[in-house]
């Protein structure tokens, strides 16, 4: 049984099929095929709900690289089921929507291939039990999201948005990979379940905190947490179905999933609590604050997504407080924050998906989504308006919509956490205050979204098309989502008992007591209700006086934003690396030689110096006769004289003196074959020098700086000294027996008296053969150099 694995693989297979089907079947829109796939997967996953609610889990394994512990293992439990239902369900709705949204002139097969690729990758992320597989699918979501954002690749802004999102999410993904490897080092297992089971054994490990931070970095970049939120607003250049699907309901929640999944691993750590809660609240505040200033509807929704994700993230952080004091009954109260987070996760997917689709409809019908040009659409587009009201009132946290319930639970969680006693009280009291202020801003931008778009004056002269209600096909999906928003408000406990409670047991696997929570629409006059009423009153006041206080956004200049920082970092890294490369890649061969020799001096000389191996042992060396001394002296004189020679011919003559000197040294050291070859080669080289000499330009005095000459002198002397030292030090120790005895019986083995020739032609003939090939290549090379010349008008043979 590998059914869950199959659920991941099917979208990938379908993605391969899409282009073929699109080409062969012209009559039917290819989107329907994708719709069938995703809705079939949704129904298939729904069938698991009763079993999961009973506490069953499913584990399937396909062997992939067993020798490295990497297997395609899937684990289906409450937590992954929630996400999988969102992915497939909203995937199906988005497909219906995009069938009507994208015109048939677009490259539809690309679009649906990417979409299926993304769906499969996302299912892989939530189902994977093996951290390496999880990482693979994680990167696949980044890549498919990159492709989808740049779907209109001819637009510059689309490409920029895609690049930015890829850079940020992939660098976070890399950090996460490092964190995973650290986890593997600590626990020696790649299975998430086994890691959770062995947590108490390794939470004192020095790698524990680094792994925590790196994995959180991955989650934060993916889930647009502060300050990595900047890629989401630029990713709004994608087609609206993509924004609705990836950038509100699924991909940005992958980081949330990761945090939820790893809460049992890291949740007991205070660092985790503060990072997740703190960054989450900061993101929530910053996102809601910035959403108000946006004039583009999609940008507003992007910032609102950032804010809502920050809220969900902070609730998961708060719930980790339950793990601080171990698994006791008292701490169950804190786990309810996670319940609220899961609940709001579902709610956010419903209303945000609907809102994105509403914006898509407005954009599609009117040709603009600029708030300043919109207004008065309520009577012209009544259905869209209704859905927009449902969505944004739910987002603002008003009854009778599901956002109200999750916001109340959010306040409960924030108030509970402020009673916690492991840190100074002021910090703890700050949490509900920040949450409350951010909720007020949320209320304000929700009102802006509905009322600036749909009420006020209808300005037809500013629109590209006159306003009409959208076609039926485009309204189906947002209507379903809007209906869900209301349904969840009235029957929250169906969702709570069957879907959310099992997920709670996956987040807190070792918790005692009842984890689920009964959701009440009405829970008396308590602090939470007062907070909500305060949000509504203050929010309304702020919305009415918006014109007066909007100036505060101008206090922070544009160039101080994180976008500018990101742009500057990209630009600076480019220019700095350019400058660095230009500074040493001079294009002069002599500079590169300096680097090579400097490296040689540092590496070899440094090794010699560090190992103290320059001990010279000249015992057993033969005596030096007067003649040898004189020959060596002559060669030295010639060598020095070459450096000082005033003409090339003198240098050539001196060079042949050295060559002949080597030949006589070969004679003295009893190597007749070498001496023969050396004399011949020396003569031939001299003649070649002379032949080439004719074509050389006039001998010019090299005009280089004094300092570079000095540097050259120092380097050459150092290289010489090091070589001499090595040659002398080599005699110091004899590591092995000489192998020359092997060739003593050359006559018996090879039938030759001349050992040298026997070695060359018999014992080691392979080397000789290759040397012959080298000569052949050199000869051919010279021939081609001389003979092959580009004719006039031909392309140059090589770039200069």
């Amino acid at each position: 049984m590998i059914t869950v694995n199959l659920a991941i693989i099917i979208p990938f297979l379908a993605a391969i099929l899409v282009p073929f089907l699109h080409k062969t079947i012209k009559r039917i829109h290819i989107g329907w095929f994708v719709f069938i796939i995703s809705s079939a997967l949704f129904i298939f996953l729904i069938r698991y709900i009763p079993n999961i609610a009973n506490g069953d889990t499913y584990l399937y394994t396909i062997r992939w690289i067993p020798s490295y512990n990497i297997n395609f293992t899937t684990y289906l439990d409450g937590l992954s089921l929630i996400f999988a239902l969102l992915i497939t369900g909203i995937g199906a709705l988005v497909t219906i929507y995009s069938i009507n949204y994208l015109s048939s002139d677009e490259n539809l097969s690309h679009f649906y291939s990417y979409l299926l690729l993304f769906m499969g990758a996302m299912l892989g992320v939530v189902f994977s039990d093996n951290i390496m597989i999880l990482y693979v699918f994680w990167e696949l979501t980044s890549i498919s999201s990159f492709l989808l954002i740049a779907f209109w690749y001819h637009r510059k802004r689309s490409r920029e948005g895609a690049q930015k999102s890829l850079l940020i999410t992939v660098s976070g993904g890399f950090a996460m990979l490092v964190g995973f490897i650290m986890l593997f080092v600590m626990t020696e297992t790649m299975s998430v379940r086994e890691i959770i089971a062995t947590v108490p054994n390794f939470n004192e490990h020095p790698l524990f905190i680094p792994a925590l931070i790196l994995i959180l970095l991955g989650a934060f970049t993916k889930s647009v947490q502060f300050p990595f939120h900047i890629w989401l607003p630029t990713a709004m250049e994608a087609p609206t179905p993509v924004s609705a699907y990836l950038h509100s309901a699924t991909m940005v929640k992958a980081g949330i999933y990761l945090v939820a999944r790893f809460t049992p691993v890291f949740g007991g750590e205070l660092t985790w609590f503060w990072l997740v809660t703190g960054i989450g609240l900061l993101t929530m505040f910053w996102g809601s604050f910035n959403a108000i200033r946006q004039t583009d509807l999609k940008a507003l929704l992007a910032y609102s997504t950032i804010s809502q994700l920050g809220m969900i993230m902070s609730m998961f952080g708060m719930s980790s407080a339950a793990l601080q004091n171990g698994y006791s009954l008292d701490s169950v109260v804190y786990t309810q924050a996670a319940f609220a987070a899961l609940f709001h996760l579902m709610n956010h997917s419903t209303f945000k998906g609907a809102l994105f689709m509403v914006v898509g409809i407005v954009d599609h019908e009117l040709g603009t989504r600029d708030i300043r040009r919109l207004g008065g659409l309520a009577t012209l587009m009544p259905i869209t308006f209704t859905i927009a009201i449902i969505g944004s009132f739910s987002m603002a946290g008003l009854p009778p919509f599901n956002g109200f319930l999750s916001k109340e639970m959010f306040f409960t969680a924030a108030l509970n956490i402020s009673n916690l006693q492991f840190s100074s009280e002021t910090w703890m009291n700050l949490i509900p205050i920040v949450a409350w202020v951010a909720s007020i801003f949320t209320f304000v931008y929700c009102m802006i979204f509905v009322f600036k778009t749909f009420l006020g004056n209808y300005q037809e002269e500013k629109l590209e098309h006159p306003a009409y209600e959208a076609p039926f096909g485009m309204l189906i999906s947002p209507a379903i989502l809007g209906a869900l928003v209301i349904l969840i408000f009235f029957f929250p406990n169906v969702l709570g008992e069957y879907v959310l409670t099992p997920a709670m047991y996956s987040i807190f696997p070792y918790m005692n007591g009842e984890l689920g929570l009964h959701i009440n629409q009405w829970h008396g006059f308590n602090t939470e209700l007062m907070l909500t009423i305060g949000v509504i009153i203050l929010g309304t006041l702020l919305y009415i006086s918006l014109r007066h206080w909007k100036k505060i956004y101008r206090l922070l200049p544009e160039k101080w934003s994180f976008n500018t920082l990101y742009g500057n970092v990209l630009e600076k890294t480019e220019s700095i690396s350019n400058a660095v490369t230009n500074s040493y890649m001079t294009g002069y061969l002599r500079d590169y030689m300096v680097y090579i020799y400097l490296f040689f001096i540092i590496a070899v000389g440094g090794t010699l110096f560090r190992t103290q191996s320059f001990l010279f042992n000249i015992e057993g060396n033969s005596e030096i006769t007067g003649f040898e001394l004189l020959i060596t002296l002559a060669m030295m004189i010639a060598a020095v004289a070459i450096l000082l020679a005033k003409s090339r011919l003198t240098a050539i003559i001196l060079n042949s003196v050295i060559g002949y000197g080597i030949a006589i040294l070969f004679v003295i050291f009893r190597a007749p074959d070498l001496a023969l070859t050396q004399t011949i080669i020396e003569t031939v080289t001299t003649v070649l020098f002379l032949a080439a000499y004719y074509f050389l330009p006039e001998w010019k005095k090299e005009e280089s700086k004094k300092r570079s000459k000095g540097v050259n002198a120092i380097i050459s002397v150092a290289v010489g000294v090091i070589f001499t030292t090595i040659a002398l030090a080599v005699q110091n120790g004899k590591l092995f027996e000489s192998i020359s005895y092997f060739y003593e019986n050359s006559y018996e083995l090879a039938g030759g008296n001349n050992i040298v020739n026997a070695i060359l032609g018999d014992f080691r003939a392979f080397d000789t053969m290759l040397e012959v090939v080298v000569l052949l290549i050199a000869g051919l090379g010279v021939y081609t150099f001389i003979k092959l010349k580009a004719r006039k008008g031909d392309k140059p043979l090589e770039d200069k």
Binding site: G626, F627, V667, I668, R670
Partner: protein, 94 residues
């Protein structure tokens, strides 16, 4: 006795080579240097012959012959270069 004489002769040839080298390094004109190189070649031939006697081997007689030919060839090459500027003439009908 004969060994000592051979070594003495060898050393003297070495001295001769060093002295000839003076002409190559300093030599005011190019022909001076070429003749000096030729002379070094001849000195080497003699030196190799003496070494062969000292070592009591015939193995280096080839070297002597080759060196004789090659010293000649390189001198000719240099001379031709000085005279015409090229070593290998092109064919007229090329």
């Amino acid at each position: 006795m004969i060994d000592a004489m051979l070594y003495a002769a060898l050393t003297l040839f070495g001295v001769a080579i060093v002295i000839t080298l003076y002409r190559i390094v300093v030599g005011p004109s190019l022909p001076d240097r070429i003749i000096a190189l030729d002379m070094i070649g001849v000195n080497l031939i003699t030196a190799i012959a003496i070494i062969s006697v000292i070592l009591g081997t015939k193995a280096f007689l080839d070297v002597i012959l080759i060196l004789g030919i090659l010293a000649f060839i390189s001198t000719i090459a240099f001379s031709k270069y000085i005279e015409r500027g090229v070593i290998i003439d092109r064919k007229r009908d090329d």
